[in-house]
């Protein structure tokens, strides 16, 4: 085990050196350039892809590459030495896992918040009215498993509403739950507001008051072993900028 670990860190160090080397000529006076690798939560796919191409256009010579996946999987990959520059997590717990391991440079910043919404198939064929329908065993309901963030948020919401949910399936991530709605296989699912927006015309969303009880914070940070720290910092600044907030707002995120 220690052998393997040291070998992984060697590879990471080599990559870091390679990154520094290519960057060295431009100096450290805030000049940006080169490739930057962003590990981001799956729910950021649409908005970050857009921000990435805008960033590349605004700063010629940069190239943003994304790795979108579940936040816990990303955190594990970073802990195992994946050569990432920026981590944007859908949950503070996953960011904490990385920062506790010494993987973050500086303090993570909460850049957006996300809240749950009820997703129903187009036209709401089952006539879902609110959270109370989720306690009805006669309805076909999809929730996220409690082990993933959207499921943990759903649990909080039901506790706040004093309801016992009667789900038919506990999906492995929020997009899987949304897919069951898109295909019309379930009458309703609890997903993020941004997912309802991203699904476009396939899905209708129903907001509910208890969603305020389970607002999810998204932290972003540059990583301690970032191969291209300068450009990574610039990308984080771009996400936090006026333009970044606008794009994320359009996707349905709340700004903190």
């Amino acid at each position: 085990m220690p052998n393997l670990r040291s070998r992984v860190s060697l590879v990471v160090a080599a990559l870091a050196l390679a990154g520094c080397g290519s960057e060295a000529p431009s100096g450290d006076g805030g000049n940006t350039g080169g490739a930057v690798t962003v590990f981001a939560a799956a729910s950021l796919t649409e908005s970050f892809t857009k921000l990435g191409s805008e960033f590349e256009a605004a700063k010629p010579g940069t190239k943003v590459t994304f790795n979108f996946a579940g936040s816990s999987a990303l955190a594990q990959q970073i802990d195992q030495g994946a050569p990432a520059d920026v981590f944007a997590s859908a949950a503070p717990a996953n960011m904490k896992q990385v920062s506790d391991a010494g993987g973050v440079s500086g303090d993570p910043v909460t850049f957006v918040r996300n809240r749950l919404e009820i997703a129903v198939p187009k036209g709401n064929p089952a006539g879902i009215t609110g959270l109370v329908d989720f306690a009805n065993a006669g309805r076909k309901i999809a929730l996220c498993d409690e082990k993933v963030p959207c499921g943990a948020a759903a649990k909080k919401v039901f506790e706040a509403a004093g309801l016992t949910a009667a789900p038919d399936t506990l999906e492995q991530d929020v997009k899987a739950a949304l897919t069951k709605v898109r295909l019309g296989e379930v009458d309703a699912a609890l997903v993020y507001r941004t997912d309802v927006k991203a699904a476009g015309s396939d899905v209708d969303g129903i907001a509910f008051p208890e969603a305020d009880k389970a607002v999810n914070d998204y932290p972003i940070a540059t990583l301690a072993k970032a191969p291209n720290a300068t450009t990574a910092g610039a990308f984080v600044q771009f996400v936090l900028s006026e333009r970044g907030r606008a794009v994320l707002g359009e996707a349905g995120f709340d700004t903190p």
Partner: protein, 267 residues
Amino acid sequence: MTARRKARGRLPLILLIPALIGLAFLVVPLAGLIVRAPWSTLPSQLFSPEVGEALRLSLVCASLATVICLVLGVPLAWVLARGDLPGRGVLRALVTVPLVLPPVVGGVALLLVLGRRGPIGQYLDSWFGISLPFTTAGVVIAEAFVAMPFLVISVEGALRAADPRYEEAAATLGASRWLTFRRVTLPSIAPGIVAGTVLCWARALGEFGATITFAGNFPGETTTMPLAVYLALESDPDAAIVLSMVLLIVSVVVLASLRDRWIRGVS
């Protein structure tokens, strides 16, 4: 030169080295699972109700799926091996598609056809009130879909290898086709059927992609062991390792015992 000459009588070194690397490649990850296992908390996690429930469901569903595969797959193999059909090659290719298809694609296909808006599923729903997604029956169907080609291929191979002259002899002695199939063909291909059944059951037991896509995930109803492993990995890697070990041990025990008793003894 001398090494090569010496090895020629026994195992050629040039084969032995890649063979050993191959063996290590397959066995070392499994050994790693055992090394990393949280031995101190193992008993409490092993006998938790969730593990018991998922294991029971896995065993029941894999067995039911295997029964379905036997009832449908043996006749299908017979048709492929002995039937005089046009386009048999295409038929065989279609039957074996699930072998190479990513299971999650199989799950999507099942969901689109048998889901409550699918071309078959909507009638199951409106005529009989049957909805297969999110039910234990859905798990069995997903597992049977993925595992059946393993049985069909084994049995078809056995049928092709079997000598048809015994069947011809039975027919000339006045046995009907059905009697010949039951009393002559089936016994002669029994080892192939047993081998296919074991493979089919093991494949069904490990099924993940089609199950989670088509049948969803609900404890006690559709959460089989592979699904429990995947979800445990999100929050509790130690639990995932324990669950993986249980699945590994069950698979090894079944494969080892059946291999020794049946396959090696007969072939």
